[in-house]
Subunit: 421 residues, 2 copies
């Protein structure tokens, strides 16, 4: 029986695993967390609109019926390509085929010390940290009597003008201002200020210009101030320095930069300037027909010679492609070549505000928003999650309900304000 | 307008607040957390059967329509009875009436250093810590090849034979063994061992003997070993010493002992041996007709001269009683006296296993379990929570589904096994 090891159970790894699990294969999935996470909706956990359990699923439950699938929690420390083993938990796991789908994290451009003041949004823990920060800031603002000192808690700065930054900025404006703040007595929505900082001349840099412009207008309508062509100079517990300007804030959210797992370096292969593994056109690494890198960790080009975007549909297609190579469906050499089916991209800004481009056709407004919602619900991993998210969204939409605004980590030895610093 | 300050938004505080909120009163609610928590179902969050959001509600959403209600997050540090002020966040808040409803926490009988190895179950954070511990232990057992080293991760020890301990022991046996472990490949339910440790000669010490016996039998049926007349001698990261016996385990759950908030001491009034405030028969403290202590923080006697149990219905009745004194409904001196309406007690062990005593009538088995379920859903604070919990329970019951088994706090710098120590 072929032994396949998959490192990473994100969109790439899980898609490959789902396709291989029913075959006569011994499958081992290794992940640093015990769950598959539907990342596109993570920003809704961060803004208290969804619960973690709505968008995450333990990996083992996905494969509960398949005895040939083993799931191990932990980190692969190195790979021996010649011996065909991976090092895990102090011992070697042998493989016939290896799929590396370790994804990507944010990059702080060398300033890793910024992370503690400016959390990213890649894991549930990240989302809960952000949620906690936002809710604590509002509570601190509620009890702070001096308006100058209070403003720090009501300023929100999002670093990064890609889809994640956009979705965060929109959600904070909408959810914080329309749903959460009305339950407070001493602060109002008009006191809050949301900023988005983007180093390039436009937000949504990978989208067509007119959609970027539309998104920009939508943000402006929500009261978000977008700072283009601006870089972050410094971040501290007091705020963020953007160009010459210092914005005092306890709410800095980092949605910029991309870096891959350090595991990729141990492969000793060529990488692009972001550190992503350069792969062959069948997603294998140089000289090894049995080792694949997929998803955000790989630098894959389409037929036009352009890099495929680091988005979920791309990772899923690659995962399924590699699985069908492994299970022998693509014996014909020409079929081994991965062909990316560009189904487009979409990003939402808020209720009835979204942009989408599909096969050259552009959409915005309510239609794009509905499309976005439907696509995202359909791609959730399980029926139960789909039900929960749909129920949560409908309830939220109909009642403007508060969602899951829980501050969970109590540290009652510190005052509310101390907890933010 | 009368100014009422309520410290604590648990069952007692919230019941008082809900009754006062519609009156012509300026109400300030102060709590260390931002939410009201339905504690009786907390053990289900700890065993990954419910999400925190299913059983907790932000306090401010309960009162979102009432502009006369202010909610402040933080801790009252002291009370000045004569000046009629409470110290909060560095300033004084004035009151005409004060309701102290600070509840209770577990007591480690002087051994507070045990807490880091043996978390209690009073807050959402507690429940999530326990859930994390249980799930990480199972993951560590899955990858540990040596059966002797592995057993530590598959032993579960619950300290305390009251309703909370019982519910935890039952849920761990059922949920871990029947729902969670089947998704693992290298461990089986028959390898796990659950122990309950109780210092008294019987579990459920406040229940009639035959119900205690029934609960004991139900636990035995689930494979739980109950150690009666046994005290914990020591707790470390390796396990727990009970009498002469050392049980190696990474899963110690503390559900014993009771202590009140240190705030009660600052009142400088007589307390019982548990530190609870001795109150008059109208729940006021000695010499102060405008200061009340209710719920777990108070030592209240019923008409027979016995102490009223520290349970939710008692706190709720006291909260409502005090509110009606404050809003002038009980001007008649005889009506000021609090009369406890003993509606009975119930505890569940697992699916179709529960015990209940109501006005002297005793129930057990399926009927008691259904009664328990209905009562608990009805008393959830909001319609939305009721829907969520009912939906979650029905789904769980019909599909034996895995629930919310998420390990959220990643510390990928540590191995799985390191994270447990």
């Amino acid at each position: 029986m072929k032994k396949v090891v998959i490192i990473g159970a994100g969109f790439g790894g899980l898609s490959a695993a789902k396709k291989l699990a029913d075959d006569d294969i011994q499958l081992t999935i290794i992940d640093k967390t015990n769950h598959h996470l539907f990342q596109p909706l993570l920003y809704q956990v961060a803004t208290a609109a969804l619960s973690p359990g709505d968008i995450a699923n333990p990996i083992r439950s996905v494969f509960s019926e398949q005895d040939n699938v083993e799931v191990l929690l932990g980190e692969v420390t190195s790979i021996d390509r010649q011996k065909k083993t991976v090092q895990f938990n102090g011992s070697s796991i042998v493989f016939d085929y290896l799929i590396i789908a370790t994804g990507s994290r944010h990059s702080y451009f060398g300033k890793d010390e910024w992370e503690k003041f400016a959390p990213g949004l890649k894991t549930i823990n990240d989302a809960l940290r952000i949620r906690e920060k936002i809710l604590l800031s509002l509570e601190a603002a509620e009890i702070e009597k001096d308006p100058e000192k209070r403003q720090k808690y009501l300023n929100f700065v999002i670093i990064g003008g890609g889809p994640t930054g956009l979705e965060l900025a929109g959600a904070i404006s909408e959810i914080v201002n329309q749903n959460i703040i009305p339950d407070f007595r001493n602060i109002t929505a008009s006191m809050t200020k949301v900023y988005m900082v983007e180093a390039l001349p436009k937000i949504l840099s990978t989208y067509p210009d007119d959609l970027s412009k539309r998104a920009f207008e939508d943000l402006k309508e929500l009261g978000v101030e977008v700072l283009l062509n601006q870089r972050v100079v410094d971040i501290s517990k007091d705020g963020v320095k953007v160009g010459d300007r210092f914005i005092e804030t306890s709410n800095i959210l980092w949605a910029a930069g991309n870096q891959v797992s350090p595991l990729i370096k141990t492969l000793e292969i060529e990488t692009d300037k972001s550190g992503r593994a350069i792969v062959n056109d069948d997603l294998t690494i140089k000289n090894y027909e049995n080792i694949f890198v997929i998803g955000d960790a790989a630098a894959v080009k389409n037929e036009e010679g352009e890099y495929i975007p680091a988005i979920a549909p791309a990772a899923m297609q690659q995962g399924r492609h590699v699985a069908s190579i492994i299970n022998g469906d693509r014996k014909d050499k020409s079929k081994r070549i991965f062909k990316y089916n560009d189904r487009g991209m979409m990003a939402t800004i808020g209720k009835a505000k979204a942009v989408a481009v599909i096969k050259g056709l552009k959409f915005s407004g309510v239609f794009a928003w509905l499309l976005w919602s439907i696509v995202h619900v359909l791609f959730l991993i399980s029926f139960r999650n789909r039900l929960r998210v749909m129920a949560e969204w409908m309830w939220h939409y109909l009642t403007n309900s508060p969602g899951i605004r829980l501050i969970v980590k109590e540290d009652s030895s510190k005052s509310t304000i101390q907890q933010l610093n």
